[in-house]
């Protein structure tokens, strides 16, 4: 659009400011924290939290990388049986939010849990080990995050340009050498992207570590705010968490560096498929085990709970299952997610348009980058930031629906923005110029051409923000007004009190609502959208 430059700057700067405000407030708040508090935080909390968080993040990253990488390789380059079924099925654990996965496993392995019942039903009375602590948290986070790595690496293996390995072959490289000196380096961007994603995922996770009682920065921050309303320690801890996040993003940036990784084109020639021979059946069993662990077991557990909830007469009426409260919390979730998604799309549309059309404008590029920042930050940090913003500016609105919406918006802005910019990128500038020459004003062109053509992108952006907001836990939990239950909050509260029957129905609803998410990821993965 032929807007004046100040207007363009204005739009992008305002959006960037809104999105950056929580982050700024955390830093500003930390600057005002008393020295004695800093001292106490650094000596008492930071060392062990740091060790815990780093070890967890490293373990989860390595685990997810190996698991996702192996599965991607099996699906893309070997003669694994039932590949057509396994390839999409391996992505489906995504539909289960991580904290629901955690609560299913806590109960399954717990005392008198579903696992024991199942085994005694099968005539095998065993006591299962509890899975609290590090190993349990790592296991569940790996299970919850490997689909991202799998998707990214699989797309990368699929799109790798065969000419490179052929060239290496003509230069005398054997199979192993080609793997080490050509294929792996070409997969490096996918590998780093996957590791940074899972690293951030593990670092920012709230639900799993809290349920499994493994203290990390995130759970410590939550306890400081929620348990003792101690903002200053939470603030100080947040700074360390932010530092870690920056560090991870910086590492990714330097690893990719100056080298450019492009697959030149898609080849018609089929890739050679590795014959697994005797390992075919074990490999298939391994894949099935992963699908059972990530999808079948948790959903089965939830089904069992809702079955027993509808049959057993509950003694405690407040924790009993009731349709009214389920519908009420469902509506609350939908309300929050709808407002967030709509606001997100509305705000990201102009910024995305400007950042695509004014690629070379530094100011706009930077503000687009700043606006997307909230996505990399853990949800708890964003929630703390928003809470601080309201405390400084309008204290009455702190802990309100507005606060939740703003936190979610800041957190998920990037998702919507990415999709919409991708959509606008597809619309050639020539189309706009053509419309202008045919007598359409710039605003009309925007309405008639751009908006019409990017409708699918707008819709998927809206949907993805909507779904992410539905599933988000820490910000909804921390910022909600008293008595305001959304589905996630309901699951969380019931589960943390041990009333699993009550958690089952909202959890299943959340999973059902996530189905389109899995579909969109499966749909996109063959376009190589890494």
């Amino acid at each position: 659009m032929a807007l004046k430059l100040p207007v363009k700057y204005g739009i992008s700067l305002i959006v960037a400011c809104i999105m950056a405000l929580p982050c700024i407030c955390v830093i500003y708040g930390a600057a005002n924290v008393d020295f004695s508090v800093w001292y106490r935080t650094v000596t008492r909390y930071v060392p062990y939290l740091m060790v815990n968080s780093v070890i967890l993040a490293l373990t989860v990253t390595c685990g997810a990388l190996v698991l996702g990488g192996v599965l991607a390789f099996l699906v893309e380059r070997t003669d694994l049986p039932l590949k057509k079924f396994f390839a999409p099925a391996l992505v489906t654990p995504l539909i289960i939010p991580c904290y629901i996965l955690a609560l299913c496993y806590v109960n399954f392995f717990g005392n008198k849990g579903v696992g024991e019942k199942l085994f005694s039903f099968l005539g095998l009375p065993v006591t299962l080990p509890a899975i609290y602590g590090f190993s349990g948290a790592a296991f569940i986070l790996i299970l919850g995050s490997y689909p991202y790595v799998y998707t990214i690496i699989r797309a990368s293996i699929h799109n790798i340009d065969l000419t490179f390995t052929e060239a290496a072959q003509c230069l005398g490289m054997g199979r192993r050498q080609r793997m080490v000196s050509v294929s792996l380096p070409l997969l490096l961007p996918a590998i780093t992207a996957g590791s940074v994603l899972t690293g951030l995922y593990a670092l920012s996770d709230f639900g799993v570590v809290s349920l499994l009682r493994y203290p990390t920065f995130v759970s410590a921050i939550y306890h400081e705010i929620n348990g003792s309303y101690n903002y200053s320690i939470a603030n100080a801890l947040s700074c360390f968490l932010m530092l870690f996040t920056f560090l991870l993003l910086y590492i990714q940036d330097t690893l990719t560096g100056r080298r450019l990784f492009v697959s030149a084109k898609n080849h018609l020639r089929p890739k050679s498929i590795i014959n697994l021979k005797y390992a075919r059946i074990p490999a298939a069993c391994f894949v099935i085990a992963i699908i059972i662990a990530g999808l079948v077991l948790p959903i089965g557990t939830l089904m069992y709970w809702s079955y027993s909830a509808s049959h057993a007469a509950s003694t405690l009426s407040i924790w009993a299952f009731s349709w009214d409260s389920l519908i009420q919390s469902g509506l609350n979730s939908v309300l929050i997610a709808t407002v967030t998604a709509t606001a997100c799309v509305a705000l990201s549309l102009p910024v995305a348009y400007l950042s695509v059309r004014e690629k070379n404008n530094r100011m706009i590029r930077i503000s687009a980058w700043v606006a997307q920042f909230g996505f990399a930050l853990p949800g708890i940090l964003v929630a703390l930031g928003v809470s601080l913003v309201f405390r400084f500016i309008v204290p009455t609105l702190n802990f309100s629906i507005a606060a939740i919406v703003i936190a979610l918006m800041t957190h998920f802005f990037s998702q919507g923005f990415q999709m919409i910019s991708a959509g606008i990128n597809q619309v050639s500038r020539r189309l706009e110029e053509g419309a202008r020459l045919l007598g359409f004003s710039s605003l009309k062109t925007f309405g008639y051409i751009i908006l019409r053509l990017i409708r699918p992108a707008l819709f998927s952006a809206w949907l993805i923000v909507f779904l992410s907001s539905m599933r988000e836990l820490p910000a909804s939990l921390l910022l909600r007004p008293a008595g305001f239950d959304s589905l996630t909050v309901k699951v969380w509260l019931a589960a943390s009190e041990g009333f699993y029957e009550q958690a089952a129905a909202p959890a299943l609803l959340l999973i059902a609502a996530s189905l389109p998410l899995a579909y969109s990821i499966m749909h996109h993965q063959h376009k190589g959208a890494t």
């Binding site: 340009d161 000419t163 490179f164 052929e166 060239a167 290496a168 072959q169 003509c170 230069l171 005398g172 490289m173 054997g174 000196s181 050509v182 380096p185 070409l186 490096l188 100056r258 080298r259 450019l260 990784f261 492009v262 030149a264 084109k265 018609l268 089929p270």
Partner: protein
Amino acid sequence: MNLNAIDTLSETMVNRTTEPYVQLHDVAHTYRIPACDKPPFTFGPVTLAIKKGEIIVVIGQSGSGKTTLLRLISGLERTSFGMCRVNGSVLFDKNSFIPPEKRKIGMVFQDHALFPHLTVKKNILFGIKKMDKKFQTNRLHELTDMLGIQNFLNRYPYELSGGQQQRVALARSLAPNPKILLLDEPLSNIDAELRNNLAQELKSIIQQTKTTAVWVTHDLNEALDTADRVLVMNNGIIEQFDTPWDLYRHPKTKFIAAFIGNASFLQGHVSGNHIVTEIGTLPCPMQYRQIPVLEVMLKPCDLSVQQHTAGIGVLIKKQFLGSTFRYTISLPSKQTVLSDMPPECNWELNTRVAVNLCISEAVVFPTVP
């Protein structure tokens, strides 16, 4: 050592000297393009002999099997029909197959396939990584000096222009001193202006290094310009394999005549030792004297055309090619012929012209009814 062994030894020595450097015998291949319902693509059978140090240019339309030929020689494609030998040792035959990495055959790919994660220097040294360091540095200097790329050894491939990438790709494949160099449309991604110079440059470097090369292209000028011999492929088989001049002057088929020299064809009747056409008479080659009707190949430079009010031809189409005008001339029998005229012959369309033959020898093809 017994006498028999000496006998076989001397026999192989004799064979070595008489046998061509590269030899393909009855090589055939069939493959189906996946996710495509078309019938399988067939290649061959192809029999071919190349001398050491020769530059062979393979030309043909897309899908004619040019690239398949390269991929079979390099081993990237595998077939069980036929035999291929280089310098006396078997690359593949019915029972054996040497994998590509053991063949010592260099290949320059269409889009260069320079490793995007390695610098220019590392790309060039990729194939000789295992040699000792001194050899590596010597070879690097030798090649980069020859190709004029010493200044961007530390750049990444995408930071180079198309022509520079081309040179790096050539350096990389020449570094291990390959037995044969295969080039798969090496200039197809290069600007038209640069292409001519670069083709000459590549040719001189290949000649300097005394490399035997098989060069695939679909650009006719590039082929005629660089080749010692040209291999014309059509529908998976060899149409003709000859020097550029013979290809131009003595095409074996009408396909080649039309493909190589923009030839047009004019019907002629054999009478005695001559062929009579409507624009003149030519001596008839011996083997065609029994056939009553023949087609005479006419290149655009085979005719002399003058403006003449009583001429039999009419100009019906005019193309300006820069250094010449190409006129399409309609004759009374409705047949058309092409003629190239110098730029000063800038005539109007529909001008009447007199058309005469200015060749003394005819290339003829039997008429296909």
